[in-house]
Symmetry: C2
Subunit: 236 residues, 2 copies
């Protein structure tokens, strides 16, 4: 009889665009913002690019998530139009933010059965950044919370934060496998700690998540085209 | 020689209005909001009460903190004035929110020496609710972070949340002493778990934190007029 030791002590999952759709709703809100604001902007202004510039300027003050996006969108609507935007449009932007915050979670395909399969062999954690109340509501209404030993909503997904979370869980970072859609937030920081990353790209990626780095240690990195392939890759 | 066993295994502190000023800045923003918006409101409208009503309506969607306050303030400015508020005023509200988020932390009197004294005898934790990025920035810039074994920024300070935090720290809730200014958030939920609460009132209390319950088990509750009295009460 051969006993094969398990390669990991914890499988950690990102949430937005890994377990459920997220970026597509930001994308839809950005398009709606352009529709609402462009009629009052000076000719030749790239309204979408100007909105992203305001988001980038505010990132260290407002952080991630829908509320931060909403405050940046209100600010951008005024600055892009030099104050010509009617206050009714500001009201429509606030309504749009409320709709985005209260929209039901839409799971990605295969997620419940993948978590059940992987969770049968490994302890699971969920590590996500964003807005505390919105992320908590999504976890609670997703029907997925029972799969996870620990849910961590963090400010920034950098090596220091991952190290703190793994230490609190009593897990050696070298024995963690992190599954997520963002090279910047899910792959690079975990590899930096000696862990392993499974990259499952989502069709859309927020501009502020883009990185050019694509030099991964091949024995600590794999890219899967769908989360459905994860149980096979883990051998569970 | 008599050895007296320590009564607690952990002293936990609230942050806003317990370690540093917070409600006074919300108060100042509310007064500024009234100044900005009242000229466009119909006669007889209580602008401050209408703002609080919008905050209350949005609490389950937006949660606590300055970003939530900001989005509610923008919405309230439009609804209270039936859209008569000029967009310039909306811009001033957004600026006010940015100022509030970037304002330096102002510690309450005696806090550093109290934490040093209590921390010399007990492990300390900080448990606060609010906005993830704003609370993190305040902790990091307060000069107090090194006193705490654990900093937890939570969505809601209810018995379930406290129980989870204490369990993760490996501490029996009955052996915790929680210090804070809010009866609703710092005192009642900890007493409900069998712990002890030290209430240190702050001159201002947010309307949505008010409770009428004031029936405390006398051996699990004390009210101190200043945090400066805490070391003596703990006998450290």
């Amino acid at each position: 009889m051969t006993v094969t030791a398990k390669p990991f002590d914890l499988i950690a999952f990102d949430a937005d665009d890994t377990l459920w759709h997220s970026e597509d709703s930001f994308n839809a809100s950005e398009l709606r913002f352009v529709d609402l604001v462009a009629p009052y902007a000076a000719e030749g202004i790239d309204v979408k690019a100007a909105l992203t510039a305001v988001e980038r300027k505010n990132l260290s003050l407002l952080g991630y998530g829908v509320k931060a996006f909403g405050l940046s969108a209100v600010e951008a609507a005024i600055s892009i139009t030099a104050g010509r935007v009617p206050v009714e449009v500001i009201g429509q932007i606030v309504d749009m933010i409320h709709d985005q915050l209260s929209a039901p979670v839409r799971l990605l395909d295969h997620v419940p059965e993948v978590l059940a399969a992987v969770g049968g062999s490994y302890p699971l954690a969920l590590i996500t950044k964003g807005d505390l109340i919105h992320q908590t509501h999504k976890v609670e209404t997703s029907g997925l919370a029972h799969h996870f030993q620990r849910v961590e909503i963090v400010l920034e997904k950098d090596p220091g934060t991952y190290d703190r979370v793994f230490r609190e869980l009593g897990v050696d970072p070298a024995r963690v496998c992190m599954v997520g859609n963002s090279v910047r937030s899910d792959v690079l920081p975990v590899i930096a700690l000696g862990g392993t990353a499974v990259h499952v790209p989502y069709p859309l990626l927020w501009e502020l998540e883009h990185v050019d780095d694509d030099s991964y240690p091949p024995d600590h990195f794999v890219e899967l085209s769908s989360i459905a392939a994860l149980p096979d890759w883990l051998g569970v």
